[in-house]
Symmetry: C2
Subunit: 113 residues, 2 copies
DNA sequence: CAGATAGTTAGACATATGGCTAAGCATGAC
DNA sequence: GTCATGCTTAGCCATATGTCTAACTATCTG
């Protein structure tokens, strides 16, 4: 299991939290200071800080401090590994789709009874 | 926060674990019984069962029992919400880049004068 | 029926996660 | 210098997660 694997796990893990996804969506509008990001979440600053730390470790955001204000910004390229994984999976999964589709339908039918 | 949100969180969470991703990759080769999935992970059966439960709750796999054998199979459509989210983000994130681009151009122009 | 096979359930346990409060530490405004 | 602002650190707490062992159920096989 390469570091590549860890990257993906961190990425998925970071995105698994609604608060963090909403922070990302907010940041998509442009860079913002910590407090501005905290405000709409209704969470306390330290809590938001930890979310930001998770996002930063996953490489999804970059931050820098100017005076006493820390500005956060998204790192668009960060989603690439995920996109790549998704595309890989699609290729494999879809190559079996016809066969699996039959199987899944059979399973679903059995479930209903 | 709608059900949609929970779906995404569950999906990302399910995919955040390397063991679960490897199980999915294995299943991409075709449906398989529990023990066959457990073997390459080096984990005990109950542990693998829990991973399978997580995958099933996220809608990523479907299972059915025939005799004493439970067969698992991937559910390709399950990745759709994630793909959709990813595409949405790409649109926003990239439009942000465009805006930044505009901003830079504006600054450069102002500098010239 | 006896024994092997394939899952399943229950419960224990260590660590991780997400939230909070209460201080603490720079920096900017007066 | 003093005070407000904005972030940080430290530490607490409840719940969730990933792993295991041990014991149980259900289903073939002979």
């Amino acid at each position: 299991m390469a570091k590549h694997d860890t990257d993906l796990s961190d990425l998925f893990h970071a995105l698994a939290d609604p608060t963090r996804r909403s922070i990302l969506t907010h940041l998509a509008q442009g860079p913002a200071p910590v407090s501005e990001l905290a405000e709409p979440t209704g969470l306390r600053l330290p809590t938001v800080m930890r979310h930001l730390a998770v996002l930063e470790e996953a490489g999804l955001i970059a931050t820098s401090k100017d005076g006493r204000v820390r500005t956060c910004a998204i790192v668009p390229e960060a989603l690439m590994p995920m996109r790549t994984w998704l595309d890989e999976q699609r290729v494999i999964w879809e190559s079996r789709l016809d066969r699996l589709d039959d199987y899944v339908k059979k399973v679903m039918k059995e479930r209903e009874t």
